[in-house]
Symmetry: C2
Subunit: 127 residues, 2 copies
């Protein structure tokens, strides 16, 4: 942080860039970051998490959690009770991703009005 970004340095090799792009579109999908951000407030069970995120289908929550689990962002703990209870919690890695998500979120919030203004102007002169 506070690293001064050189305006003209290439910074990453093309291959590295494509790897970055790959992971970026991975976590930039519709639900990954909302789920991660929701889990920052503490571990949740499946349906608690689903309500917390809001608007996500059962299937997409399952898929998103599997992907996050696979990437080491989320821990899945099954309590052998009946009915079964499954608890999801962020790993350290996942928490770190959450930090990034919040930063990006802050940037978006900070620039939202400007973006909307630009869109309106663009659309207006197209008409």
């Amino acid at each position: 942080m506070h690293m001064t970004v050189d305006q003209r340095s290439p910074r990453h090799s093309p291959q590295t860039c494509s790897v970055i792009a790959e992971h970026l579109s991975r976590i930039g999908d519709r639900w990954t970051l909302p789920v991660v951000v929701t889990l920052r407030d503490g571990p949740l069970r499946f349906n608690q998490l689903r309500r917390g995120v809001g608007g996500i289908s059962q299937q997409m929550l399952t898929r998103t959690l599997r992907a996050l689990e696979r990437d080491g962002m989320v821990d899945r703990t099954v309590h052998p009770t009946v009915p079964p209870q499954v608890e999801y919690a962020l790993t350290a890695l996942g928490g770190s991703l959450g930090d990034q998500a919040l930063q990006l979120g802050s940037w978006i919030v900070a620039n939202l009005a400007e973006i909307e203004r630009c869109r309106s102007a663009f659309d207006a002169e197209k008409a």
Copy 2:
């Protein structure tokens, strides 16, 4: 920058979150950030930019640039020569987005090995 992110603060209302998610999946697509990052080194013409990004089809570059222009991230300047020359440059807003992209990129690079390790472990125990 350097804002300490409170581990447990709710941070954003649900509506705000969904707006964030919306913009996030907007810029989290396959090409937006690669294009923005490429443009950080200075203005480029269409085909220069295409070569710089690498691997992008002509159609996707056009669409990505239109979307960026609409959002006020990129300026498009047509020089009335023959054959026509069109120059694309980041706006201040676009540069700011580029900064965010680089930060996220740095996070990905820093955690790539760990992620890959987790994936291998996950896939292994699935077999």
